[in-house]
Amino acid sequence: MQTAVTARKRTSLAGWLTEPTLAGMRRRKALLGYLFVLPTILGILVFTAGPVLVSFGLSLYKWNVFRPPTFVGLENYSRLVSDTRVLVSFANSARFVILAIGLQIVFSLLLALALRQRMATWMRYYFRTTFLLPFLLSGAATGVVLSYLLHQEFGVVNYYLGLLGIPRIPWLTSSDVVLYTVVLAYLWQFVGFSLITMLGGLSNISSEVLDAAEVDGASGWSWLWQIVLPMLSPTLLFSAVIGVIGGLQIFDQPYVMTRGGPGDASRTAVMTLYEAAFKNQEIGYASSIAVILFVVILAITAFQFAMSKRWVFYQ
């Protein structure tokens, strides 16, 4: 009997697979498993995992697309650390991320807590929808709209501020102001996104716990610090990680609004990468910027997770 089975295995692959036994079914499922994951695995190897490794490789070459690449070792990296434009853009990105993500988390948390108030269903629905609305739009569209609204002379924002007696603010034309403008524009577009995350986090905390502590008279601050924040810490960590990863890669909205200017005042790391690679055709040099950006993102994410062991509280 056993020899017959092995003989059949050797003679016919189809028979081996279609065998109407449990073992046959297990084999069919395994084969199906490989077939099912094949497109995704191949796609990821070709368009994600492979390219990351290639980026590391390319960063060691000098290559302007038209001539064959030449190996230059770490030259791109030594050029990078003395390239003021690159350094300025990384510093801008860092300032942007600290301000934008910090404010985004604080505001969305406050909004989420405010929306816990008793209010009519339509009202809650109205607030949730209006806060999320800008998030639905493209960064290009909001960039266009905000650059008109923030125009120093003709902009609607300065008009209303003028009514309050505030002099016209050079939102997009002063190198001292423009980065804050980019932060505000980011907040306008993305605060709704993290608000939804926070609402999700709050809804995971049993409302008895939240309300009991409130009714029990924990004062506002201690309620926030001793109940809400610890309970919400996984959500806060998640928002911080997603925010930093996304914030360090922000491009669309600031690019459309400012093109990195005036001067380099709102130039982000990604804009420098974009210009080096696709305007100046310096593929190798741009790759070294990409590698640094990648390593920075990984390091910060790892750091956030390492620190989280101290303050994130999982139920």
């Binding site: 995704t40 990351v52 008793r118 609305l133 493209s138 669309d252």
Partner: protein
Amino acid sequence: MQSSWPEKKNARAGHSVAEALPRHGRRWLLLLCLFALSVIMVGPIVWTISTSLRTPAASFSLPPKWLPTDMALENYAEVFARIPFWRQIFNSFFVTLSTVFGQLCTAALAGYAFARLDFPGKTLLFWLVMATLMIPLQATIIPVFVLISRIGLSDSLAALIVPALFTAFGTFLLRQYFMQAPKEFEEVALIDGANQWYIFSRVYLPLTAPGLAVLAVLAFNGTWNEFYRPLVFLITDANFTIPLGLNTLKGYMMTGSISVVLAGVSLSLIPVILVYLFGQRYLIEGIMVGGLKG
């Protein structure tokens, strides 16, 4: 724990300003603040639509008029005259729908395999997929650009679609949904003589319809709004997707009328608003699961 409660009650005696207000007064103040904020959130969008309907001469008028007064639809005609906007609308739909469909297919297959089929190396392959979730677009864009040009796809819509057909996030998401589906259904189907493909496509796939909807809505929004990859891969106006078209339109209109540009912006908002109206449940679920790139 219990013993500390009375202490807190005492602590409350140190009153703050907020506490001094009567409770319902605080509530109204809070609602007022929320309402003011919601006006700031929606204001720019209302202004966009009403200004897009204003004659170019009046488009800079201050104080801003919030209601559309002129109904100047010629701004909309002007968008189509200035840039190949019909073409760009088609391009955006083509790229978005192909990407959404492709991601649904590849992620459903892979998600199902990782959730419900056993094969040697499964765990390893799954961690490979998970590891690529951490890789930012910026770390891959240059080699992908080189690859795309080498295979002759630069300045084509395929350059946007092909690399986006595969999704680590979508695979992860759908795997979760497949894992929640009851195991017993497979046994019942087997007794009825169903084969493995039937079990996947007719038994479990319909069960994960909510998961597919979440992925579809997220992929639709993400792709429709995408700006960076189109900017890198596309050169010709006629191949542009809408966000890129708006960017050029803004450039053309630097000294001209902003109402034409805002007409283009208004048109670009329609699909995402519609998707939100019909699929907000799924969008919100998707955000909570944690997925939105870019």
